[in-house]
């Protein structure tokens, strides 16, 4: 999976978690999105883990600063 395809696959997840479409770019950060607090962050990680069948480590979660970082981890860890 490439970073781009991971980003595309993230769009519906963001929509589910935030209840509305979120225009995703690699540079998008939590500060840019209303309601993206620590609770939402956990919901998002839980949704990502379920959707892609992967587990993010505490280091990886702590190191996330943008949507692009998340897409990169998914691209690296997700099967196929």
């Amino acid at each position: 999976m490439t970073d781009d395809s991971a980003l595309a696959a993230l769009a519906p997840l963001f929509e589910e978690v935030f209840g509305e479409p979120v225009p995703l770019t690699p540079a998008l950060t939590a500060e840019d999105v209303e309601g993206w607090d620590s609770t939402r962050m956990i919901e998002l990680i839980v949704a990502v883990e379920a959707r892609f069948g992967i587990k993010l480590t505490t280091r990886e979660v702590d190191g996330l600063s943008s949507v692009g970082d998340l897409a990169a981890i998914i691209a690296r860890k997700a099967p196929r």
Binding site: L13, E15, E16, V17, G19, S38, T39, I42, E43, V46, A47, E49, A50, T57, T58, V61
Partner: protein, 618 residues
């Protein structure tokens, strides 16, 4: 393995659009549409999404009646669990609101002013092992376990909650997440947290039983799905979430089934298809000898496993019915003649086999058993039949049973349809009562009046007493159909009525020549000057059609006269489930007073001369 809502069908493809549409609908339809979405296999994100829509559209009450108020108190982060609980209640046609404590503050909050103002119906206490058990010393002896201290602390919390709110209590068992230090024989190290967790969970069963507290058995859930499905150490450290948000929808459902059980929302009947559900093969095609059922093959034993589960459910009070597309005699043949069948015709309270569609037949079964359609669980191996029934009768529970017959019984158990918090003698005797119910058997053809007259019914009315409280509270809170006002009653309130001089209370027992039906009706009335106002009147559906309500009125009118009341005043409050008693008061001779109440002149009342029962004071 994940801890999810595995028995529910997948949500619709256009979930988001349906959710938006539902919010825009008029009240009643909006509620039904939200309930329908709740009855699908929602993941955590969709559970939260549905919850937000629910809270926007129905902030407090709903077409399902006043909201049930639950206080969620504990030692760790619980906020992420509230949505699942609300949606779990919605799945049971209940609006439930959650009051969230500040985590770690439960000892102060449990009877504090803030919670008193909320007046919770239920307090759910979710504690983690380290908090409840305190620091331990793994190297120390049994004295380090401090179990008695922990249990004593819990019972005093329960008592404080009860004293402050008169509420019911749900105690979560400890999540067994502590790591073993020795291994399989951890119990030989009584000071270890893992050993203490196990022992406290065992002791909780007895303590909760003694105190009438309901348990949320998280330890059993962990045994079912695995610790990983329920607890993520990384999230515990990141956010103090003892239960992972991934399991929140199921957690909420487990809570809601206990709440639902107390309110009569648990299912009461199991309706089974036959061919390829209860046995392998098609009786009409394969004949008796071609059926796969019984010992000797894995497949045959798989079907027996479902039969054994169904039979055991019957023994604890679930009513069994058959709904099959078959010729009626052919469908009965295996029950009569197949030596390996566990279930017999005598286990089945309603047997419907014909070529009509299953939705029509399920209506017949509900009517025959005098149960609401929402009390039925329908099991069918055929996805087409399941979809048809869900489509036409959305209130019937239709589990998405696995194709593997060996897993069908477990799917039913996972779904928690038959959740119960108590087991009474009435429950144990229910199947027998249905089987010998003469009114059901003969109402269709014979002369009902003759049947009733021959029953030798005796209706015994007694005021509430301490001995009867458990059954009274159970009956009041679980009866939905023959219930004039659907007022619920807490045990403390019922107890207070015993000594209330202005209250007239009745618990009514029906005995006939076939046996004792137990307490089948409850009335609560209150003196208001010359009136006796009937605030609560309800009756078990099992005795409908026997003119028992006329006998109850005779008891009530006599009591009114004895107390010097001149008028009996009746109220009817529609609940969406009690349509069958909308015309009860006019049928019994009450007249409308123009203010929505029904009035009967006590002096002018005479019991019907042909009343087919003896009416006795207790």
């Amino acid at each position: 393995m994940t801890a999810d809502l595995s028995w529910l069908p997948p949500p619709p493809q256009d979930f988001a659009a349906r959710l938006a549409d539902a919010e825009a609908l008029p009240e009643g339809q909006a509620w039904d549409a939200l309930v329908a979405l709740a009855r699908t296999r929602l993941d955590p994100a969709r559970t939260n999404r549905l919850d937000r829509a629910l809270q926007r559209r129905f902030p407090e009450a709903s077409p399902a009646g006043p909201a049930v108020r639950l206080a969620l108190l504990g030692s760790s982060t619980l906020a992420h669990l509230a949505a699942g609980i609300r949606v779990g209640a919605l799945r049971r046609d209940l609006r439930l609101t959650v009051w969230e404590g500040v985590h770690g503050q439960y000892r102060q909050e449990i009877d504090g002013a803030a919670l008193r103002a909320v007046r919770p119906d239920i307090v759910l206490l979710a504690l983690d092992p380290a908090d409840l058990l305190g620091p331990g010393d793994p190297a120390a002896g049994p004295e380090a376990a401090r179990l008695a201290e922990a249990l004593g602390g819990l019972t005093s919390l329960w008592a404080r909650a009860r004293a402050a709110h008169g509420c019911t209590l749900i105690q979560q068992t400890l999540l067994p997440a502590a790591l073993p230090l020795m291994g399989g024989n951890e119990h030989r190290m009584p000071g270890s947290l893992a050993a203490r967790t196990l022992r406290l969970n065992a002791a909780l069963r007895d303590a909760a039983e003694a105190e009438g507290v309901d348990l949320l058995a998280l330890d059993d859930a962990v045994a079912r799905h695995g610790l990983d499905a329920w607890h993520d150490p990384a999230l515990w450290l990141r956010a103090r979430q003892a239960v992972t948000p991934a399991a929140a929808p199921l957690y909420g459902d487990l809570v809601a089934r206990i709440v639902g059980a107390r309110l009569g929302r648990s299912a009461k009947a199991l309706v089974l298809d036959l061919d390829d559900t209860l046995w392998g093969g098609t009786i009409g095609e394969d004949g008796l000898s071609g059926l796969v059922v019984g010992q000797g093959s894995a497949l045959g034993e798989s079907f027996l496993a479902l039969q054994a589960y169904a039979r055991d459910l019957v023994r604890r009070g679930i009513v069994l019915a058959v709904c099959s597309k078959n010729d009626p005699e052919t469908a009965r043949m295996p029950f009569r003649e197949h030596p390996d069948m566990l279930l017999r015709l005598s286990d089945v309270a309603a047997f419907v086999a014909n070529w009509d569609d299953k939705a029509t037949n399920l209506r017949r079964i509900a009517a025959d058993l005098r149960l609401g359609l929402d009390a039925l669980v329908f099991v069918d191996d055929n996805p087409f039949e399941r979809a048809l029934v869900r489509d036409h009768l959305p209130m019937v529970a239709v589990p998405e049973v696995p194709e593997e017959p060996a897993l069908v019984a477990r799917c039913l158990a996972d779904a928690g349809y038959f959740e119960a918090v108590t087991l009474t003698d009435e429950d144990r005797g229910r199947a027998g009562a249905y089987a010998r119910d003469p009114v059901r058997r003969e109402a269709r053809d014979a002369d009902l009046a003759t049947t009733l007259a021959g029953l030798g019914m005796r209706l015994i009315g007694r005021p509430f007493d301490a001995l009867g409280l458990a059954r009274i509270v159970q009956l009041v809170n679980k009866t939905n159909q023959f219930n004039l006002t659907t007022r619920r009653l807490r045990e403390a309130e019922a107890a207070a009525l015993i000594d209330d001089p202005d209250a007239v209370t009745l618990q009514l027992r029906l005995v006939d020549r076939l046996g004792d039906n137990g307490v089948i009706a409850v009335v609560i009335a209150r003196r208001a000057r010359d009136d006796l106002v009937v605030e609560t009147w309800l009756m078990s559906c099992r005795v409908i059609g026997r003119r028992v309500e006329e006998g109850i009125l005779a008891v009530l009118a006599a009591e009114a006269a004895r107390r010097g009341a001149r008028r009996l005043v009746g109220l009817y409050r529609p609940s969406g489930r009690n349509g069958m008693v909308a015309d009860l008061y006019p049928r019994l001779g009450f007249v409308a007073d123009g203010e929505g109440r029904w009035v009967l002149d006590v002096a002018g009342y005479r019991p019907p001369p042909d009343l087919p029962m003896v009416v006795e004071p207790g």
